[in-house]
Amino acid sequence: MADKSKSGSLLIKGGHLIDPAARINTPMDVLLRDGRVADVAPTNKIRGGTDETFDAHGLVVAPGFIDLHVHLREPGQSYKETISSGTAAAAAGGFTSVCCMPNTSPVVDSVEWVAWLQQPQRGAVVNIFPIAAATQASKGAVLTDFRGLQRAGAIAVSDDGRPILNESIMRETLRLAAEIGLLVIQHAEDTRLTENCSMNESTTSFRLGLRGMSAATEASIVDRDVQLSQQFTGARLHVAHLSTAEGLKAVRRGKRSKARITCEVTPHHFSLTDADVGDYNTYCKMNPPLRSAADREALLVALADGTVDAIATDHAPHATHEKIIEFEKAMFGITGLETALGLAIARLHREQKISLSRIVELFTAGPARVGDLRGRGTLARGNYADVTIFDPKKRWTFEAAKSRSKSRNTPFDGWPLTGKVVATIVGGKIVYKSN
């Protein structure tokens, strides 16, 4: 074993390969060469010399995980996170590709910023796929240059956090994006009805005297967007961080129609409920907010039955002074890259009996399909050599203080998790290895 492999070849030997897109769930060796998958074969069948070997006995070998929803905070908010620190956290969490949201300062709404994000000087250790703003400065008024943004490398457009409420703007967004096959991601929230709200409307919000967001504010936007999507052949609508049972119903209706509707769910929404806000725990303040136990149940069902396409973290780092303040003033969001797999296995596999293969699908083939990330999400020969190797049985305790993220805003500090990333390989190169 070696820590670094430049180009050259790397043989991952003795592991159990789970590659849902290829319908593989069996012991297999994987040979990576020159940044690509060179061979996948039963254990000990790959002959010939390799520069390096990784012993994966007792471990699961999977296509590299893809996170469709992270906030890397650059440009402009490097006190919260940088591309370098955020992607280091991604690598530690097993993610080989992350799609970063444009709500930075300034907003990533131009070709120049999309290019800037991908420059080597940013120090990314995993692949970055920018999501560009759908409207200038995400103000919801004037559309950005979709074609140019796509050419510069944007895989989607979204005004995440500032949902497009104006129907004609959303229609134009979907129409233009459909023309060039660009994905549109919507944070589904009718913000006209959630002003000054800081958590889910619930017995907890009432008890704490906090203004609550009603669950209906999600489904109404999903329904509208699904209807708009149906008007344009080729439109692809992805619903970010879906959080409610009603929202799921709207997605299911959309999936039955001819429109191409996909959705993601975060680890915190399938792990926690609004009751976890307790007595004003700002580490349980995010948007969409933690929802009711019934909503969480509905998400668990949808994660199991295939309605949900991807697990996405909505990794949202914030500095301490933005979180250790009055609840209503605290920023929305929590970090999530390093706890995603451990929560998925602890909650979905061990508690809910969802298969490991389905969980891997939600981290790999699912998001690759949503984002149309060709050559990723499955370890077919010739695909990118992005691999995640994890120990599915490893019990461990997450310590926020040891996070690679610059921020510590997580409700999962000290949580017992199951399943730990052992190595993360991007383009054939080991970018993270646990000790």
Binding site: E201, R207, L208, G209, L210, D279, Y280, E326, F327, E328
Partner: protein
Amino acid sequence: MTNVARGSLLDIEHLDAKDITALLTLARRMNPLKPRPLLRGKRVLLLFYEPSTRTRSSFEIAAKSMGGMTTLILSSGSSIEKGESLLDTAYTLQAVGADVMVIRNPYAGAPLLMAQHLKVPVINAGDGMHEHPSQALLDAYTILRHKKTLNGLQVVIIGDVYHSRVARSAIHLLSKFGAHVTLCGPPEFLPELAMCLAPGLHITRTAEEAVRGADVIMVLRVQKERLAGMKIRLQDYIARYQLTLARLKLAKRDALVMHPGPIIRGLELTWEVADCPQSAIVEEVHNGVPVRMAILVRALGKAK
């Protein structure tokens, strides 16, 4: 609550009946006219981010009459205006030598946040829409001067429960002592969620039904400053929920009329009701002093 200085009073919800009884007993031993110097040399910081007449003056009088020193910090005219955070203001006041901090703040949970980070006790003098524990205590004190016990009492809380920290504290307190609490108001002011606050709560949308047979009627102020975008027609509200003499007649003959103040005559209650013989509105204010004396004494650990 974790890591909160002893003697803090953050809410009623997490207090048990024994603590409340002890506080009320202590309050009965307080004589504002002949106070003992139980706070001599103690520094009481009053940190008010919101307007207040009753709460502020009664805490101040309570502290001073027992020999304590008070310093009043208002959000205007202090470094709060320059953008100092709540916690930094709190650390500053602790550093200048505060022995106890009394805080009123528009943000729910602000006193808890302070208490979690300070070594000195923190007293909540009203936080956003959350709780107003000293008000609930003085209301209980007032009721118990007229009624033998809270247990089994028919208490109506009428008005804008949603925005009311007074209501939340009162509901917790009354329920802990076995009072039958009925909440009354339109859905905008009284969502069904209110039922979650305590077991055994009743909700009614009709003032007449609520008031009939009541022992105590607590009227809440319509808080125009917190209505934020709510569409409620005041004329309709007045027609359906204003406490009038006619409605008051449906209650028990000796029913007590209460209101945390400030009252808006002609809105949530009529002029006549505010001044009727059954009105305890002025008495509540009066009782605020001994109750807040007790809260301060408990915070500073004297007078066993």
